[in-house]
């Protein structure tokens, strides 16, 4: 009986994870399309230059300048925001798994998942 109950909770977790990934990709795509349309509308006639690596400006690398640029209605930062949502999707999956394991009282995997999350967030 205990085994059966555990299995049901595992499947619930799987369904939630599946939904989370799906909506993450969907929301990110919508933001990217919106930003992309603005960008193409305003800069579509200009020439691209990616031959030389210059690195992105600060507003594409740091969250608060990015957000200010998005609020000013700029296209490229809006695309970048969509990309951030995309990057956040698998991270959110890890985050929610922690709750899942805690609810299952699976302490070993709860701790393991927290370590994985820490490793990922280290560099943001």
């Amino acid at each position: 009986m205990a085994l059966l109950k555990k299995k049901i909770q595992d499947t619930d977790l799987e369904i939630i994870i599946g939904q989370l990934l799906r909506y993450g990709v969907l929301i990110s795509s919508i933001i990217v399309i919106a930003g992309g349309s603005l960008y193409i509308y305003r800069h579509g006639h200009q020439l691209p230059n990616y031959k030389e690596f210059r690195g992105e400006p600060e507003k594409m690398r740091e969250l608060s300048p990015l957000w200010e640029a998005v609020l000013r209605g700029e296209g490229r930062p809006l695309i970048q925001l969509g990309l951030l949502v995309l990057i956040a999707t698998p991270i959110a999956r890890i985050f929610f798994s922690i709750f899942g394991y805690v609810l299952e009282k699976d302490w070993l995997y709860a701790i393991l998942t927290i370590i994985v999350l820490t490793v990922i967030c280290w560099n943001f």
């Binding site: 799987e14 930003g35 990616y50 400006p57 995309l86 999707t89 698998p90 991270i91 798994s97």
Partner: protein
């Protein structure tokens, strides 16, 4: 070529890459980087950043479908993500230090390995019951649904698989690809789990592995919105069409053709790296 035309061509190229990648199981990343660097003459750092983003998109999109079918071994995935994320961060730091020519040569090597791996026949191993102690402690042994009913399987050589996953993570972070070929070596050949489980679990892990190096890529300015926008959307649409076609089309000839193309691209990447054109 204006940004509008550039974006449209890139979208079409990424769509083709996503379609072929999902039909052949090789992933879109393996052709995106040669496409960007060799055809569009994009700097390899931008190419790696763009590819990494598209890898997260396809992995998350496909994992959403697989997880619901109950084939993915989520515990195994979570445990091995410990290895791949640590590796990925190391790899991403290496990418900022290594010479671009060396990165191009390494990339060519991984491309050849991926193409070769796609020809290795991946039958299901006899299901063993001699689980290692560690796989019992970590509760990695599991079951998955098949047409003939639920099949139980055990996981062997957990330590060996873990180390291979660290390497897979380093390669992923260094080259901006999913390194599915290396993950499959770890799970199929070392840990001996059924191939449907290893394929879906590998795909499940790829997004998290890529997200771990994305932070470093973002801070170093490798991720450009103008490049990523058409590529992410193109790869997503291509992968979606591919997953629909997969049920109706036979892919063995396509796989052969794609592997030859990848082999050719690999040689050109290596040549460009060795002659310092990249």
């Amino acid at each position: 070529m204006t940004i509008l035309v550039f974006t449209l061509i890139l979208f079409a190229g990424a769509l083709a890459a996503g379609l072929l990648g999902s039909l052949t199981g090789l992933g879109g990343g393996v052709v995106l980087i040669p496409l960007l660097t060799l055809v569009f003459k994009v700097d390899i750092h931008y190419a790696i950043g763009t590819s990494l983003i598209s890898v997260i998109a396809t992995s998350s999109g496909a994992a959403a479908a697989y997880v619901r079918e109950g084939i993915t071994n989520i515990r195994l995935g979570m445990f091995l993500e410990l290895a791949t994320t640590m590796g990925a961060i190391g790899g991403a730091f290496l990418a900022t230090k290594l010479d671009t020519s060396l990165i191009a040569v390494l990339f060519g090597g991984i491309l050849i390995l991926s193409a070769a791996m796609s020809f290795v026949k991946r039958g299901d191993h006899a299901v063993t019951t001699d689980a290692s102690r560690l796989s019992q402690v970590l509760r990695l042994n599991s079951s998955y649904p098949t047409a003939a009913g639920v099949v139980f399987y055990t996981v062997r050589n957990v330590v060996g698989g873990f180390f291979m996953m660290i390497i897979a993570g380093i390669v992923s972070g260094l080259l901006g690809i999913g390194s599915g070929a290396l993950k499959v070596i770890a799970m199929d050949n070392i840990m001996r789990i059924p191939f449907k489980v290893s394929t879906t679990t590998s795909n499940f892990m790829i997004g998290v592995t890529a997200a771990a190096s994305a932070g470093i890529y973002l801070q170093r300015g490798y991720i450009d919105p103008g490049l990523s926008m058409p590529v992410v959307l193109g790869v997503l649409v291509g992968a979606f069409i591919g997953s629909r076609m997969l049920k109706t089309t036979s892919v063995s000839k396509l796989k052969m053709l794609f592997a030859i193309v990848i082999f050719g691209l690999a040689l050109e990447m290596m040549y460009n790296g060795l002659t310092h054109k990249i």
